[in-house]
């Protein structure tokens, strides 16, 4: 599920309030930055230094001494930077910085986890002993022993995500100026009265070591510009929002600059204003043309989540839910997910995607894998513990069970578990795009941007809104609609796909907040896709009168 409901949804100052105080203890964490911070606009204070490697070795020793058969340790520094504005004012400038150490220990086939922000030899050793003690305490409720699929050992390796400009090196005045100029452009549209815009940057310095000998250092940067533009009818009879204008990305400040916020703000604002005057949709069945800025979320919910193996086997039943793609032996190689031209890939390798990483949180170097191959369900997302559960399937394929590298913890304080890699619908062979698909459609609705979303706990029944709804008649956009949502049943929906764009129309969409697990953790993930058309999908009108 994605949890952006906590973000921007309640309008007004809720978003700002989220950043001001006191996050919960589950928030962010740690590690040392190499060298001094580089902020050109004023003399920065000396940065924090931590002897990461020594501490990690100390933690592993302590876990081993306490009786762990396997242990891994993550020391991480997790930083956020936010600039929050509305209209022509700045609401907040916030930096957050969290450093700490998490140790996971396997004792007699049972997991335990301990975490601490006290980065001393005693502190991390204490967390390691706590992890072992918790594993022993939990042993009483164990049924099946955990076994890890083998992985290569990666010694002294480093990895860095794709970015050109570290957002922490960009002067705050520049960031603020860009947002306020974009806001000003949006406010030139007469009925547009309110604009929220935020710059949201993430920097993670993540170190990993395991008792098997891997030692890994990685740096990840992500950037996002959430923006919500609101048009209000002068008589208060209606208001409409345009948001979801810039997708989050695993890139640096260069990505923000490339969005041309100032140049595009008027267009987005105009769309908000047009929605006030737009025609309420008539319920019925329509051919839907879904733009990548919208379709990514449908992929996330209806393909990404049901193909998580822990869900399929019941491990997430109490929160995220289970999956209609179960049991595995009846689904792998058998379930017809969609048309033959449908191929869906899991990866942690696409440059600029949010789940892209060199090594996962179990030290596995991920490989790309096909989740759906020629329209047929082909593989689940896995971790080391889970890969063995599908040994029978991999034996049939002549493959050794191997984790797909999907282990992730959202902070040093969170135990790592199976999280979604980038899950992407691969483009078709024909070199067509958005315009060609519209031109080929007689009566339909073209949807841009992600909006309301909800799906059941087995990922069958979903309902999606959007941002901008274009009415299509005779191959042309003839006007704008509002109050549109479509309802679907996952396998029927994907089998109704009859046209997709080619490589040049492929784009990434993303969420910073994919929620799963208990305690709940957030995962950043991207989904690439071309625009695609779906035949005769049920559309409802969501505009009720109070």
């Amino acid at each position: 599920m994605t949890d952006r409901r906590d973000f921007l949804k309640h309008g007004s100052l809720a978003a700002a309030a989220l950043w001001t105080g006191a996050c919960s203890s589950g928030a962010p964490p740690t590690i040392p930055a190499p060298g001094p911070a580089q902020t050109p606009s004023a003399t920065p204070p000396a940065d924090i230094q931590i002897p990461t490697r020594e501490l990690m070795m100390r933690a592993l020793d302590a876990a081993r001494d306490a009786g762990a058969g396997y242990a891994d340790v993550r020391i991480g520094r997790y930083r956020n930077n936010f600039i929050v504005t509305r209209e022509q004012q700045i609401i907040n400038v916030v930096d957050t910085d969290s450093i700490g150490c998490g140790v996971r220990a396997l004792v007699d086939g049972t997991w335990g986890f301990g975490a601490t922000r006290t980065l001393t030899a005693d502190g991390v050793a204490g967390a390691a002993r706590e992890a072992v003690a918790i594993a022993k305490a939990s042993r009483i409720a164990r049924d099946r022993s955990v076994e890890l699929a083998p992985t290569e050992v990666h010694r002294d390796v480093t990895w860095k995500s794709t970015y050109e400009i570290d957002p922490w090196t960009v002067p705050i005045e520049q960031k603020v100026d860009l947002l306020l100029r974009a806001n000003a452009e949006a406010l030139k549209v007469p009925t547009v009265k309110y604009v929220f815009s935020i710059m949201y940057f993430v920097k993670e310095d993540r170190s990993f070591a395991s008792t098997e000998g891997s030692t890994i250092d990685q740096t990840v940067i992500r950037s996002w510009v959430p923006m919500q533009i609101t048009a209000v009818a002068p008589d208060f009879s209606d208001f409409q929002n345009r948001s979801s204008v810039v997708q989050p990305a695993g890139r640096g400040y260069e990505y923000v600059l490339a969005q041309d916020l100032v140049g595009n703000a008027a267009k987005w604002a105009e769309e908000a204003a047009q929605k006030i005057k737009a025609k309420p949709v008539e319920v019925g069945k329509y051919d839907l043309i879904l733009h990548p800025s919208h379709l990514w979320l449908t992929i996330h919910e209806s393909i990404g989540h049901p193909t998580e193996l822990d869900r399929a086997l019941g491990y997430e039943a109490n929160y995220a839910g289970t999956s209609f793609i179960a049991p595995p032996e009846k689904m792998l190689g058998k379930l017809k997910y969609g048309p033959e031209f449908m191929n869906v890939r899991g990866d942690r390798s696409q440059p600029g995607a949010c789940a892209t990483i060199g090594y996962d949180d179990e030290g596995v170097k991920p490989e790309d894998f096909l989740i759906i191959k020629n329209g047929v369900f082909n593989d689940y997302q896995t971790t080391r513990e889970q890969a063995n559960w599908l040994k029978w399937w991999y034996d049939q394929q002549g493959i050794r069970p191997r984790s797909h590298g999907c282990s992730n913890g959202d902070s040093w304080a969170s135990v790592q578990f199976q999280r979604m890699p980038n899950v992407s619908l691969l483009p078709g062979e024909r070199d067509i795009g958005w315009d060609e698909i519209i031109a080929d459609t007689d009566r339909g609705i073209a949807i841009v941007g992600d909006g309301s979303f909800s799906i059941d706990q087995q990922r069958y029944n979903a309902q999606f809104g959007g941002q901008v709804f274009h009415e299509i008649r005779g191959g042309k956009i003839v006007g704008m609609l509002k109050d549109v949502a479509y309802q679907m049943r996952t396998p029927d929906f994907w089998n109704a796909m009859d046209m997709i764009g080619g490589q040049r129309s492929y784009e990434l969409g993303a969420s910073f907040f994919d929620g799963k697990g208990q305690p709940p953790q957030s995962n950043a993930v991207s989904h690439g896709c071309p625009p695609a058309r779906f035949r005769q999908i049920n559309v409802i009108n969501t505009g009720r009168k109070a």
Binding site: M1, R5, H10, G11, T20, G21, A22, C23, S25, P29, P45, D47, I48, Q89, I90, N92, V93, V94, T96, D97, S98, G102, G114, A115, T116, R117, I134, A137, S138, A141, P171, L180, V232, F236, S237, F239, L313, G314, A317, N318, G321, T322, F417, F453, S454, D456, Q457, Q458, R459, N461, Q463, D483, A485, Q518, P519, P520, N538, T542, R544, A546
Partner: protein
């Protein structure tokens, strides 16, 4: 397990004296015109179980401090968990540097002078003292029953114990400690044809009954097997308290005066202004937040150090208050009305049995799931029923039915009220974490809108 006792001390958090000392240390480093620090510290213990065994368990302890620096109307904040002098100094200096660079905020209200606060009530020693083996025992009360019943029990127990403090350079200091816990389970039949949920949440762990939670979920899992499809449409529904809270809390989140006055809220009045004083739901409905309510307590101050107090949001169906932050309150010529982190809806005298018995045809809902906003103009949300949805015919539960998607607003729901039972505190977060402290009654409502059917169990 005696070794655990020495290894795993009870929940850690900063005492009043420790929080005050940390606040002083940070404030003493500050050179801004005004400075505020907020300190959050605490331990979260968690134990998950799946398919009748514990799958993960852990404890994490953390303290974070947020430093907010103010120069005139320029401000910035920095949050860190590095609390030695170097770490604190880094945070203070970074915050001051950013604040000087930030543009002026015309809505900046400055820091509050010292305030008087009531003592916060949400602490329980029973919760704070619960350790991993105690959590494992609570979980086992469920998993032993599910294993004996040949069912699959999956669930989650979380405990939190911590403190929150706010201090500023004008001498304000506020401190509260609080605990929270929630235990929830989803029990499924091995063939996946039935699923039942039960859960409870309270700040006092001794108020939870693990065995009873397990029994209720087991019963629902069995009863829900082999559900049949019915046509979506408008139905009379009997909503269990968790389902009521799933939706009523959404109304709570929308109680914002500024959004209303700006014309972009359900609480906007057609033609201008807001709906304070207008009747919006059935006259039997009253919704209140009271930080000192012993059953659903909340912090007695906000993140800025503003005292919170008992606030009636809706009384006898009429909007009495919306929340006003300090700026909007000043602009509107009213006192600020802070949002309070708890909700209580009043109830009635009907029992669940009576509500079912008086229903010729309707649906009993255990809980709702994946609830997301659709239209803020009407507080319209969509989501689905889950883990125990039953058909009521001629005053009796006759069969399990497939889950249904709703498109509905708590406003419409509380307008179509038929009957209410006795309020209880419930676990109403989707994640199974303690969530908002909320007490609501079971209710019976007519014309609840279901728009499609789900095959999900």
């Amino acid at each position: 397990m005696s070794t655990l006792v020495s290894l795993l001390a009870p929940a850690r958090y900063l005492s009043r004296a420790e929080a005050e000392a940390l606040a002083r240390r940070a404030l003493s480093m500050a050179t801004a015109e005004a400075t505020r620090v907020s300190i959050q510290s605490g331990t979260r213990g968690n134990t998950r179980f799946a398919v009748n065994q514990i799958s993960t368990a852990g404890d994490d302890f953390n303290t974070t401090i947020t430093v907010r620096s103010l120069y005139g109307r320029r401000s910035a904040s920095v949050t860190t968990n590095k609390l030695d002098d170097d770490g604190l100094r880094y945070a203070v200096e970074t915050s001051e540097r950013l604040a000087k660079l930030a543009p002026e905020d015309p809505e900046e209200m400055g820091e509050l002078p010292p305030q008087q606060y009531a003592e916060s009530q949400g602490w329980s020693d029973a919760t704070a003292a619960l350790e991993p083996d105690g959590r494992a025992r609570a979980v086992r009360a469920i998993t032993e029953a599910t294993r004996a019943a040949d069912l699959h029990g999956t669930g989650y127990l979380e405990t939190t114990a911590g403190s929150f403090a706010v201090a500023n350079s004008k001498g304000l200091f506020a401190y509260a400690r609080g605990t929270g816990t929630a235990l929830t389970t989803t029990v499924r039949t091995p063939d996946g044809s039935g699923s039942g949920w039960a859960g409870e949440s309270h700040h006092d762990f001794s108020r939870l009954n693990p065995a009873s939670i397990g029994e209720r979920a087991i019963q629902k899992a069995r009863l829900s097997a082999n559900a049949v499809a019915i046509e979506p449409g408008r139905y009379t529904v009997v909503l269990e308290p968790t389902a009521v809270a799933n939706l009523v809390q959404l109304l709570g989140f929308a109680l914002n005066a500024r959004n209303a006055d700006e014309g972009r809220s359900f609480f906007s009045k057609p033609g201008g202004g807001n709906k304070i004083g207008m009747k919006i739901v059935d006259e039997r409905v009253t919704i209140v937040s009271d930080p000192l309510d012993p059953e659903v307590p909340a912090n007695t101050f906000t993140g800025e150090g503003l005292p919170t107090s008992r606030t009636i949001w809706i009384e006898n169906g009429v909007v009495k208050n919306l929340s006003y932050d300090r700026f909007w309150a000043q602009k509107s010529g009213r006192p600020p009305v802070p949002f309070v982190g708890s909700l209580r809806m009043n109830g009635g005298s009907a029992s669940m049995e009576e509500m079912i018995a008086s229903t010729p045809r309707g649906i009993l809902v255990t809980r709702f799931w994946y609830i997301r906003p659709v239209d803020p103009r009407t507080i319209l949300y969509t989501g689905l029923t889950r883990d125990g949805t039953f058909l009521i015919e001629n005053g009796r539960i006759t069969k399990a039915i497939k889950n249904l998607r709703f498109n509905e607003s708590p406003v419409f729901m509380l307008n179509n009220l038929e009957a209410m039972g006795a309020p209880v505190r419930v676990s109403a977060s989707e994640s199974g974490s303690p969530g908002l402290a909320i007490s609501v009654p079971p209710i019976k409502v007519r014309d609840f809108t279901f728009t499609s059917l789900s095959d999900a169990v």
